[in-house]
Symmetry: C2
Subunit: 416 residues, 2 copies
């Protein structure tokens, strides 16, 4: 039997425990939704004040050069790079994940069309269970190009290998599934995709800052991801796109805004590609939200992704074990793999009344979230989640289940 | 002869003068670059603090509903709508201007392709002197579609009417030229374009908050624009896109991110268009930068675009008159029209040593900017520019010219 004392002991031994103090967590709350919106670093406020009063208010347009605004998507990209196994000048923090997916897919299709042996390929592979925006953007590209493209939606991770064959032009996979927390094998799927002559794009929304990622070791082709989940950059903060050196010279995508031009301030009347990571940029970026990405990344410089991963697995293991210990009598189904090799940093549990139970948890200060159908998601963020948080969350879950305290929520609609 | 006393008198009579106190302008500075980056509203700091500490830090993911994050691109769009003659639920504040140009052009081409009488049209018209990103995005779309599209770059505003003929699918025009301040006739060009069977998109980057705009009165088709210039929303704040009711049901563009879905939280595996203004959205928006658009718009609620326009013309008239009075011996060329009907809210003046002179002005605290070739740009923002500012700016310009105080800057390169 795991005890509260044991959890407290784990906290005492936890090398990452002091990092929690970097975050402004609300009182009386166990926040298990950092996989949706990361908590606020205390430093964010001071950083925003500096940008607003000094860079904007006082220095005004001089900040484009003096404060490095113009280079900030790339300088913050360089700060982010080590977390995903990218080299310097391979990452841009810019636009939304959806827009970056569009750029990466369009850029990958462009490369495939310009190679004789892949020019006729018209299949794009992704998972049916992928986050919807990934699929929607693929549909948008397919309709817009109107050139015979076909989406091959794969039903299960086990079927991916076979679905990626020599008809495939481009594969777009999310490394860690947003709903189940299932983590795909990046190395194997990248190698297999490329053996078939296709290019692979990795969506790292639920990976960056959550699990170790080494894009260059995997020799992947492109990647995109989110900064406002595990990277704690703030609501809707700009996303990132990775274009490795090997593809930068040939990278062409239709969102050719002036920030992608090789000499943007010459104001030339015709586009000329930069041939470097700037090819992934488009227009002017929201400097306040963008700058706070740097604040979010600062916490990661005090530890390593290996230590974060070790604590993440300990937290999710503990949560699974405690739920089994305390809630065995209830119809709960674990949706997240037990196998460490294929688990992200969340635990998803289905229950026929999942939505109502999650509402009851939130009312008691345990903040997770709900995803159709029936899935309660709990995100574990080693920078600020403690083992005692896990204990307390499961105690409250058990109390709600044992006494059907979710009954009052059963009428509420899940879809907002 | 215009005197300093006369300028002081104009300030005393200026109904908008008290609004200057809403802005945190740096000391010892005459800021004439609000057409590049608007000044900081004092309220921005407190607003940002609220978003960071309360909405993000304390309420966390609950803010998506509780604080209205999810609807904020549209609720702020509704705040902006009156300034450009848009109805409610026709404007989204989202993404960058470049990305929004892409959406509007792709959406307009889609409509044209689906009408029998315009399906074969392949010409897109814009001005050669347009802001480069507009042209670059058109080039991006042309290459991406690879369907025979041709850009017709028109050399002069006078040639536009003739260039817009029955071969034209879509026209993309910037209402006020960024370099010269020349303002096109929106009503006439819209009517002519539509008579030719084409659709027209207006870029309002240098119009919104600067000159009265009435998109619905002009019966225009689409519009985009910037919020960080005359609307004072902060560096790189999200841009806007206007999709009028008449086009919302048929509006389809390839950046179909999940925010454009009719039921985003149902997480359906296939895109379904909303058929309303949400069709102009794509992915998650940077909430801190986005929210400050609202702070920028607040100042406009204390006056009207008619009063702003009257003061703008008075300021630019005064600047032109004072430059002619004080700098007549120097080789200055007025690039901005004298005719009020075709002048925006800036004055551009060419000088063979324009770059060096602008550097000298900036060193003396007169902040304008420089655009190739040879053009010094001075933006006039009635919310915070005074008539005495204009007097002082010209005094300093005259001193620099009379005593060649720009000599030291002649070696510097204009392109950064």
């Amino acid at each position: 039997m795991i005890s509260a004392q044991h959890c407290a002991q784990l906290d005492q031994q936890d090398e990452l425990a002091p990092l929690r103090d970097l975050f402004a967590l609300p009182a009386h709350t166990i926040y298990l939704d950092g996989n949706s919106l990361g908590a606020q670093p205390k430093a964010a406020l001071e950083h925003a004040q500096h940008i607003i009063t000094q860079e904007w208010g006082t220095d005004l347009i001089q900040s484009w050069n003096k404060a490095g605004w113009f280079h900030r998507p790339l300088s913050i990209g360089n700060e982010l790079a080590p977390l995903i196994g990218a080299e310097q000048d391979e990452v841009a923090v810019t636009d939304s994940t959806s827009v970056n997916i569009f750029k990466a897919v369009a850029g990958a299709l462009h490369i495939q069309k310009n190679q004789a042996h892949t020019a006729q390929r018209r299949v794009i592979v992704t998972e049916r269970s992928n986050f919807p925006t990934d699929i929607y953007i693929l549909e948008g590209i397919k309709h817009f190009l109107n050139d015979g493209y076909e989406l091959r939606l794969v039903n299960s991770p086990e079927d991916l290998h076979q679905a990626i064959d020599q008809d495939v032009a481009v594969v777009l996979l999310t490394h860690v599934n947003y709903r189940t927390g299932y983590m795909l094998d990046m190395d194997e799927l990248t190698a297999h995709t490329q053996q078939q002559g296709a290019l692979i794009i990795w969506d790292l929304c639920h990976s960056a800052g959550a699990v170790p990622v080494d894009l260059n070791a995997a020799q992947a082709d492109f990647a995109v991801g989110c900064t406002y989940k595990y990277l704690n950059a703030g609501p809707g903060a700009p996303a990132f796109i990775w274009v490795p050196k090997k593809h930068q010279a040939s990278f062409a995508q239709p969102l050719t805004g002036w920030w992608a031009h090789q000499s943007p301030f010459e104001m030339q009347p015709s586009f000329a590609a930069s041939g470097d990571i700037r090819g992934a940029l488009c227009g002017t970026q929201p400097m306040i939200s963008l700058s706070l990405v740097s604040t979010g990344l600062a916490a990661f410089k005090q530890t390593s992704m290996q230590k974060i991963r070790a604590k993440s697995l300990a937290l999710t293991d503990l949560f699974i074990a405690l739920v089994e210990q305390r809630c065995a009598d209830h119809p709960l189904t674990l949706e997240t793999p037990r196998d460490h090799a294929i688990r992200g940093s969340q635990v998803s549990i289905a229950h026929p009344h999942g939505y109502a139970i999650m509402q009851a948890l939130i009312e008691r200060g345990v903040i997770g979230d709900y995803r159709e159908p029936h899935i309660m998601r709990f995100g574990f963020t080693p920078l600020y989640t403690s083992f005692t948080d896990v204990w307390n969350a499961v105690e409250i879950l058990a109390d709600i289940l044992d006494h059907k305290k979710y009954d009052v929520n059963l009428e509420k609609s899940a879809v907002t």
